[in-house]
Symmetry: C2
DNA sequence: GGTCGGGGCTAACGGCGTTAGCCGCCCCCT
DNA sequence: AGGGGGCGGCTAACGCCGTTAGCCCCGACC
């Protein structure tokens, strides 16, 4: 297991920084999440952030961790029935599109994440298809494809996405 | 139809610029595609590029158009049978991961693309499911999800992606 | 009471996309 | 043949980005 040896709990200041970053991300999108903007929110200067966080990548890892925990909670709340799981996945992604992109639109820096957090979010999906890894990955791909294309406005304006979800999920039931 | 009124064929210099950008993208990834690097390849200075291209967004649109045409050609070559279509989609994405991301990981600036180029790439998918829009979108989401998660290394190391593809495509057959 | 370190600060670097303004050269028109 | 215009280079510079170096204050602790 070449992953992180210890989670190292956050200091108060680190939590404040993560909160400021999250707030900027949700409210204005990824371009607003700059070290200077974050510092502004806290009433300090950008270089001072580096007394608390090694770099921006580590800061993003905090937000990604937050996202995985929230997504896991959302999925666990409806675990079991497959259509409800799909709705919960879609609902979370659409409510936090910027964070969803941060989490899922790039290679994951697993070395910067607390161990287990990714597996926890994946578990409800896996369980919903009877712990069949191949079908779970296909289902995940479908769900991720649907929400990412929806988030990015790639479907035609009139498209009935509920129906596309139904058509896709029916196949995996 | 609020889209582009005329395609406006490219000048020789514009084609050279697009070629230089494509070469940097394929060889070194998106971070290498800067106006200065592109200018270096052509032996000129960055500001001179603006005599030929309005801005970087328009330049990216040239690459995205290229990508859609290439993807359409790849899909048309195997049009009909569904598993082959999936293999062709996956094959193209994996051979040009940086361009695939440029094309598909963000909202599409359709106003900067020649009309019809997006529909042309989508047509083989649509035809493969008997022109059922909902199922076509579900299939597209599955394919996009699979390749994007694979490109970003999000699947576990040992995962049998051929099997996941088979499991997913079987549902849409 | 002296030391030390946590946590601020300013200044600065190199990179980014982009704009303003200049100029040389070639082509075309008279 | 002479003159004008515009194409397509150039340099300098702006405001942004992440990040580093180096300084200093202040409070806690021996």
């Amino acid at each position: 297991m070449p992953d992180a040896p210890a989670p190292a709990p956050l200091t108060e200041r680190q939590r404040q920084i993560a909160r400021a970053a999250r707030q900027l991300l949700d409210a204005e999108g990824p371009d607003a999440v700059t070290m200077r903007r974050i510092a502004d929110v806290l009433g300090i200067k950008a270089p001072s952030l580096y007394k608390h966080v090694p770099d921006k990548t580590a800061l993003e890892a905090l937000l990604i961790t937050e996202g995985f925990v929230e997504l896991a909670e959302a999925l666990e709340a409806v675990a079991g029935r497959l259509p409800a799981l799909g709705r919960a996945y879609r609902r979370y992604a659409l409510h936090h599109p910027h964070l969803y992109r941060l989490m899922n639109y790039r290679p994951l820096r697993r070395d910067l994440l607390p161990p287990g957090v990714e597996d926890r979010a994946a578990f409800p999906l896996l369980a919903a298809v009877g712990h069949d890894g191949d079908r779970a990955r296909a289902l995940w791909a479908f769900a991720h494809g649907m929400v990412s294309l929806e988030i990015d406005g790639r479907f035609p304006p009139g498209a009935d996405l509920d129906e596309a979800w139904r058509a896709g999920l029916a196949a995996f039931g």
